[in-house]
């Protein structure tokens, strides 16, 4: 296979420790020609790029950043399987490209020593020369090449330096014999590996040597699934025997691995790389003096977060506004080209509103990804996680949960996906389960509408800038966070108990963020969101439209209204043909009256639709929350996607479609004027408004998030659990808010 002809595509696997610039190198090599997907059944991103070197096609397979190739989960098994050519969905690997951080070869070569055991042609890329130089690390590259006996190329991936040389080396390496290094392991261990290889063959099992080695070292039993419990009983027993002998020989599994590999690393680096015995203070250290300081660091953290959220909302707002306008225009076009009826309603209220409902949040989500990418790329995110760890460890999580929860303020879907960075499975699950409690951007319109309509604009504590509406908004965000803390605490005490695992995280050297990398990450994650959320939100919006539209028969409407409509229609037609001087004014009046009647008809259609029937059916259950059947209706409609609530409230309170958005004063006025059926009592009081907000803050009203949780946990159990616990909390929270609020106002 190593002598591949030039007609065949050469497959290169890219591997390296985290924080070595692996993604930057991947982008520098493959440019825009990338394919991103997922390995089935696991939560590992499958990323492949294409490149051409001297008329030869290459496929570059990006493997997840890792410190070691000792798999402990199906996710970690992917890299090993890809490198061994055991996966059907990835071509066998011809060349392994291993990228290392030059300033920390001691640790990076640990992975290299594992990679070399795959016996493929291997190329080593020495990245981050600048950091190494600043730290005073000296590397004799020629000597390293001789020691390792593989091609070694110096690169500076973020500046594009050395990329050409690396490409040439890759092209040559494909035609070279693979590296056959001496094993780092002691004699006794190698003998046991050879013994096990024989046993495996006797059981007609063709296991690659690397896997045999791993089986011997895998005392945790993570690799057991590759063996068959019944058929491979013999191999299993042989492994146990071998471990006992190794124990006696003084090289116990798994401890022998670290000993052997670090021994090999220091042999390779002896006289080849050196670092000053006293650490030189770098720029990074000076910045850290402030940013990780308990007081200054915390202040800086709060400022960074405030600045980020402010900019996300301010910068994204005009874009969202434009998208809304565009939706309105599209709806207008659709209305003009279709006749009144189900098709028009589907296009306008189902399709355009459904797609628009997703698109409107895109600017905010892209902006948040943009800022997160900057913070990650410059190295600040690890410091933020360090600062937050003090807080998070009190409730049993670690600082690593910070980024997923932060992303969830834009949208829980990328937040749930970002939880992949947490290695501890229990912590990861807990983080996923509480991520939807963070107030995402889809809740914002509900808060905005309720606050603008019902929360009086009065200063608090006599402060001019601290006013009740702002405090209420803050309170809603705080409610989500506080509830998450309690939920984490309870989950950790009950169904997901366990000690907090040791928290260890690298604090990478600060660097200027690269515009290319930041944009790339923003677009990558943003479009991943569009693909995953877009299709589902769109589909459920159409379903909601259908239950709110049908049966749609004229018999549902009171005859008086229908008569009024046709009477107005006649009046308008006759006025249009009239030459009377007052005709124009009368026409305008009639048109206004007609649109009010149309709105009432739309309201009656909704009231008698399947959705309306459901709303009336649940009214007894939502009455204690201070809601009438209309709010119940709008809430049911918003279960698949919460942003739908605004539009539904508009229709159900007989307001024309085009006048309905969160900032629209007419919707606010309509809600203020809404009365309980058959009485003069207003529906909305301050406790009711608060109760609606609390419900939306806590409820799991997002089918796309639940679908993402299902995918990421690979089980239906956890999305169901999330839905049940959040909906129960929402109901109870809302009930308490309304009852206490009413009692307090009365007292």
């Amino acid at each position: 296979m190593s002598h591949s002809t030039s007609s065949k595509t050469i497959t290169v696997a890219l591997i390296g420790n985290p924080n070595t610039g692996k993604s930057t190198l991947f982008n520098a090599l493959s440019g825009a020609r990338q394919q991103v997907g997922n390995y089935p059944g696991v939560t590992v991103e499958k990323k492949q790029g294409r490149l051409r070197i001297d008329q030869q096609d290459f496929t570059l397979v990006d493997l997840p950043g890792s410190y070691s190739l000792a798999p402990r989960s199906p996710d970690e098994m992917i890299s090993v399987d890809v490198l061994l050519g055991r996966r059907d969905d990835v071509a066998p690997i011809d060349v392994i490209l291993c990228i290392v951080d030059s300033s920390n070869l001691e640790r990076n070569l640990y992975l290299v020593s594992q990679v070399l055991e795959f016996e493929r042609p291997t190329v080593l890329a020495l990245n981050m020369q600048d950091v190494a130089r600043e730290k005073g690390v000296l590397i004799d590259v020629e000597a390293l090449r001789n020691r390792l006996q593989i091609p070694v190329v110096e690169i500076q991936a973020n500046r594009g330096k050395g990329i050409e040389a690396l490409k040439q080396t890759l092209a040559q390496a494909a035609h070279q014999e693979p590296a056959r290094p001496e094993s780092p392991f002691p004699e006794a261990f190698q003998e046991e590996v050879a013994f096990l290889e024989r046993v495996a063959r006797e059981h007609s099992r063709d296991l690659p040597r690397y896997l045999v080695e791993r089986l011997l070292l895998d005392t945790g039993g993570y690799l057991e699934p590759i063996l068959d419990r019944d058929v491979d009983q013999g191999i299993h027993e042989a492994i146990q025997e071998a471990r006992t002998r190794l124990q006696k020989a003084g090289c116990p599994a798994p401890g022998v691995e670290a000993m052997a590999r670090y021994g090999w690393v220091s042999k390779m680096l002896d006289g080849v790389a050196s670092r000053p015995s006293i650490h030189r203070t770098t720029w990074s250290d000076r910045i850290d003096k402030v940013l990780t300081h308990w007081a200054w660091g915390t202040i800086a953290f709060v400022l960074v977060m405030l600045a980020m959220f402010q900019s996300v909302f301010y910068i994204a707002e005009p874009a969202s506004f434009m998208i809304e306008k565009l939706n309105g225009w599209l709806a207008g076009v659709a209305e003009s080209v279709t006749a009144e009826g189900a098709l028009r309603s589907l296009l306008v209220n189902g399709v355009i509103e459904g797609v628009g409902g997703v698109l409107v949040f895109l600017p905010q989500i892209f902006m948040l990804f943009f800022f997160i990418a900057i913070l990650e790329d410059c190295g600040y995110m690890a410091r933020a996680a360090y600062l937050m760890d003090r807080v998070m460890s009190r409730v049993g999580l670690s600082g690593k949960s910070f980024i997923p929860l932060l992303s969830s303020f834009a949208c829980a879907i990328p937040g749930v996906m970002a939880a992949r960075v947490i290695e501890n499975p229990r912590d990861r699950l807990v983080t996923i389960l509480v991520a939807p409690l963070m107030s995402c951007s889809a809740r914002l319109p509900v808060y905005t509408l309720m606050i603008a309509a019902f929360i009086p604009d009065i200063p608090l504590f006599g402060l001019r800038f601290f006013r009740l509406p702002g405090a209420t908004m803050f309170g809603m965000y705080f409610l989500g966070i506080a509830t998450a803390v309690v939920v984490v605490f309870i989950l950790k005490k009950t169904i997901l108990p366990g000690q907090a695992p040791p928290f260890v995280m690298e604090l990478p050297t600060y660097k200027l963020p690269s515009a290319r990398m930041v944009l790339h990450r923003m677009l990558d994650r943003g479009f991943a969101f569009v693909r995953r959320a877009g299709t589902l939100i769109f589909a459920v919006t159409v379903v909601v439209w259908a239950i709110a539209y049908f049966p749609h028969h004229e018999s549902q409407i009171s005859p008086g209204l229908l008569a009024k409509r046709s009477e107005l229609q006649h009046r308008i037609e006759s006025l249009e043909n009239s030459d009377a001087p007052s005709a124009e004014t009368l026409l305008a009046l009639a048109a206004k009256e007609k649109s009010a009647v149309e709105a009432k008809i739309a309201g009656e259609y909704l009231k008698t639709s399947y959705l309306g029937a459901a709303g009336q059916f649940i009214e007894p259950a939502v009455k204690p929350l201070g809601w009438d059947w209309r709010i119940g209706c709008a809430t049911i409609a918003s279960f698949p996607a919460r942003e739908v609530v605004i539009a539904t409230l508009g229709v159900i309170y007989n307001l024309g479609e085009d006048e309905t958005d969160a900032e629209s004063t007419s919707l606010q006025q309509t809600l203020r004027d809404a009365k309980w059926d058959g009485s003069d009592r207003p529906v909305f009081t301050i406790p009711t408004a608060l109760s609606v907000m609390v419900f939306f803050a806590l409820c799991a009203q997002c089918a796309a998030t639940l679908a993402t949780i299902r995918r990421e946990t690979n089980s239906y159990r956890w999305p169901i659990f999330t839905f049940v616990y959040m909906t129960s909390l929402a109901y109870l929270g809302s009930l308490a808010t309304f009852q206490i609020g009413t009692w307090w106002l009365a007292g």
């Binding site: 410190y67 798994p254 650490h279 308990w294 040791p502």
Partner: protein
């Protein structure tokens, strides 16, 4: 021999022993925190920041893992 977190800021030492579950110890070793590694305490507290082979690493102690070091003079 003292626990790692007892090093004062600026002090250095050499790791002598990792005590804890097999898997925890293995993860630490792969990250470079292993017997024989030189460490320097950059900032105390919990989590603390240590320097390990020229890189900064933040580390929170738990009951699941104890890192013992020999302080160098």
């Amino acid at each position: 021999m003292i626990p790692l977190q007892l090093l004062t800021a600026g002090a250095s030492g050499r790791v002598t022993q990792l005590m804890g579950g097999v898997e925890e110890v293995r993860r630490m070793e792969e990250l470079g925190l292993r017997a024989g590694a030189a460490v320097e305490m950059v900032q105390g507290g919990n989590p603390c920041i240590i320097r390990l082979a020229g890189n900064k690493v933040c580390f929170r102690r738990t009951d699941a893992l104890h890192v013992l070091v020999e302080e160098s003079q």
